[in-house]
């Protein structure tokens, strides 16, 4: 990526009379859209020639950082390599032109792919069925909770409206529950970061009859494996609830554990994390939901067709490429990479919970707090050195959370480079704290004024122009 900003908007490159398209001639005769149907004024879209458009977006891409650019240790997002063969497979015209309302006998290849992917995911998770309707992880959570809600409703068990969520959970968990019309009960974490089993027992004894489900990631958001998971599952099942597995942290479990075997009944998978499909700057993802036998009849209709089919094609290409031999190495190598970074930095960064982590771990800022250098500053300084920042200020359990997830695809050299830079930043925090606090310096833009953006929102070009006219 560049370190100088390319700052134009496409609207600012527009000139009346230019065009960047070619369409066939209208030889249908005189069919004119009647004035009564028409908008009174054209949409003010830009007018640009083709090369201007190509250059503009190419230059914009140079303001961006992706996995292909460099190390992207964004905790809980699993920014692994997105293989190119996946893209090639998803671009095949034999799939691109399929209308979703086409009769099944003309789409046998696409349907076979759906079935094959389902079979693979069942095998990898220990569950029995998947629905591919959910478009993203959060959409999958909602779908899974709706499945659970439908199950309880079908039994006339209408009081089950509470979902137990650990206090370390992703923000989407409680939000998904709320959208599903369910209430949240937070269960506390112990000092070692895992679920407080005593607190969970207390909750179950008080509210057992109203528990719809317990929602967990395992490993949890601290990257720690919940070793008491069999007991937790037994406890929840004992009071009539179901176990929901948030697949956000599934990656380290490939080759190690299956959610179905841990006692989970329902789960979603983020195909854009564990199954290597690109994050695309924030989507499209895919959040297929799996269930144990008997629950598939409670899948809700959360989208019209087979979800983000193009994303599923990429995931299937990934599974085929790796095969059974290599897919079981995903988890161990991701876990090794994370632990290696953790062990190499824990003398300078505060590690609140020591011991083996899974695919990610959380530092609570710098060990030496006297410099006034915060996690935000460390994150911004990392950008100067050509690294994407880890996830910061999540989980909420610590004030200065810095969550690192390297994935299995990174070499020892890359990790060593990152470790060296993290140590250097810790050193700079002592010798030149202002430099760290004012970082980044080598990026296309410096720190942005978030307050200005929120206080007086300008979210379209037209608003921007009107604003200028006022000035």
């Amino acid at each position: 990526m560049n370190n100088r900003l390319y700052g134009n908007l496409i609207f600012e490159l527009s000139k009346e009379g230019r065009k960047g398209y070619s369409l066939p001639k209208n030889n249908f005769g005189r069919y004119e859209v009647p004035a009564s149907m028409r908008r009174s004024e054209d949409a003010r879209l830009p007018e640009c020639d083709e090369l201007t458009v190509v250059r503009h977006y190419t230059n914009l891409s140079n303001n961006n950082f992706g996995v292909d650019t460099g190390f992207y240790p964004l905790g809980s997002c699993t920014m692994k390599y997105n293989p190119k063969i996946n893209e090639e497979m998803a671009a095949q015209p034999q799939f691109q032109n399929l209308h979703p309302e086409q009769p099944a006998k003309t789409t046998q290849g696409a349907l076979a792919l759906v079935a094959l992917l389902e079979k693979s995911l069942c095998e990898l998770t220990g569950l029995a069925h998947f629905t591919f309707k959910p478009y993203a992880g959060a959409h999958g959570e909602l779908t899974g909770l709706m499945t659970i809600d439908n199950y309880h409703r079908s039994r006339g068990d209408l009081a089950r409206k509470k979902v137990i969520v650990p206090d370390s959970a992703h923000g989407t968990n409680p939000a998904s529950a709320a959208v599903c019309g369910l209430e949240i009960i937070e269960v506390k974490s112990l000092a070692d970061g895992t679920v407080d089993f005593d607190d969970l027992q207390r909750i179950c004894s008080v509210s057992g009859d109203s528990i719809a489900a317990m929602m967990m990631t395992n490993p949890n958001t601290l990257g720690l494996f919940e070793t008491r998971i069999p007991e937790i599952a037994k406890l929840i099942h004992g009071c009539g609830g179901l176990m929901y597995y948030d697949g956000a942290n599934l990656n380290p479990m490939l080759g190690a554990c299956r959610p179905g075997d841990m006692g989970f009944d329902v789960m979603h998978i983020n195909l854009h994390k564990t199954f290597s499909t690109p994050h695309g700057g924030g989507g499209p993802g895919a959040g297929p939901v799996g269930v144990r036998e008997g629950l598939q009849e409670f899948f809700p209709c959360v989208s019209p067709y087979h979800g983000n089919f193009g994303v599923m094609m990429r995931a299937y290409a990934y599974i085929l490429s790796l095969g059974r031999e290599n897919i079981k190495e995903v988890g161990p190598l991701a876990v090794l990479n994370a632990n290696y970074i953790k062990e190499s930095l824990k003398d300078v960064y505060e590690l609140p919970i020591d011991g083996l982590c899974c695919h990610e771990f959380v530092f609570d800022g710098l060990k030496d707090k006297s410099t006034g250098v915060t996690t935000m500053d460390v994150a911004k300084r990392l950008l100067d050195y050509g690294y994407h920042a880890p996830t910061i200020y999540f989980p909420l359990l610590f004030h200065e959370s810095l969550m690192v997830e390297p994935t299995e695809n990174e070499s020892k050299e890359t990790l060593d480079g990152f470790i060296a830079v993290m140590r250097q930043i810790a050193e700079e925090a002592k010798t030149d704290p202002d430099k760290v606090k004012s970082a980044p310096h080598n990026t296309p833009i410096g720190r942005v004024d978030d307050v200005l953006a929120a206080k007086h929102p300008i979210v379209t070009f037209r608003q921007m122009k009107n604003e200028r006219m006022k000035e």
Partner: protein
Amino acid sequence: MYKYYPQTDADLQAMLAKVGVKNLDGLYAQIPESIRFRGDYKLPSEMSELEVRDTFKKLGEQNEQLTCFAGFGVYDHYTPSVIPSLLQRSEFLTSYTPYQAEISQGTLHYIFEYQSMMAELTGMDIANASMYDGTTAAAEAMMMSVAAGKKQNKVLVSAGMNPRTREVLDTYALHQGIELVTIPLKDGVTSKQDLEAQLAAGDVAGVMVQQPNVYGIVEDFTGFADACHDKKALFIIDNVAADLAVLKTPGEWQADIAVGDGQSLGIPMLFGGPYVGYMCCTEKLIRKMPGRIVGMTKDNRDQRAFVLTLQAREQHIRRQKATSNICSNQSLMALFVTVYMSLMGKQGVKEAAELSYAGAHYLCDALLKTGKFHLTYDKPFFNEFHVKYDDDVDALYQRFIEAGFLGGVKFDGGLLFAVTEKRSKEEIDNLVKLAAL
């Protein structure tokens, strides 16, 4: 080691030593043995690239390539060649949500452009950074109207909504405890009389209509917004994005929220997705809008910069108090339609829509001329229309398939045909010949 794994044996030994475990298995020492997965997954063996290609090729060959006259919410529009090539720029493709604005101006920048273009197209004040698809955008609009209202819990939905969308609305409404009431059609268009009666009954948070409706008919919403606003209900229009290049906009109909699918802006049909949902609204409602929003600001070097803004609305801050759980947007597909609108521009989007209109009316006239079809409702339509066939419609549909045509969508006892700028006169003539047999 496999090609995606860079760790050599020497690397592994050095790293394991640093971590203080003997082997990779030791990394999972804390996990109870009873739940460990041992052995092999029942999956195919590792495939070379050539074998992966071959597998997909064989799957692809099992799909029939049909000339598409189907719509029903998904349209076979033209994709300019520039788009796939720009979308493969891996700085866009392999990045994530632009949390670090300093190294994500590319994404933030195009989302700002996307928001600007969608607001122009719909004639609304503002847009969010995109939603999953049109159906879930409609569901979010439904929930937004209830959240924005005082205590109203009812949403009125026109029978002109596509049943695919309606099914998704029903799902969300069931779990949210929202009451959905259908406003029937009269002569193929939303009954204003029934709308007013339902509004008068009270407790209405929102009213949702589709344009063009599921029969392809372009409805006249004169007076709808006033009727809604009199009763403090929000007026929501679900539009096919591409048609708005020409059609009267939700803004002109005084809608409060405009939603729909952006697939018609050149996105391949790809068996149902990925597409992109859009949501636009009035400035007044900005803090009630779900999803991400990109705003303009300045950096500490006094440069214009873009950033995710108004995040206090979002799930990761509000947690269980959030009114939507949407986390990501559909960023890359938002880039898709942004590049589309940049290339097509002010004139191109109109020209494509007018071509689609002309092609559809040419086909309709030709079908009616065979004497075997009649329009289900004789109302103005855009590029999609619903006809009844005097003979066996299933047999006709099958005849189309065998000749390589997807002859519309079977719906409500007839056929719903859609035509886009991709359909040539020759293709239409050939379809009509089959229909006249």
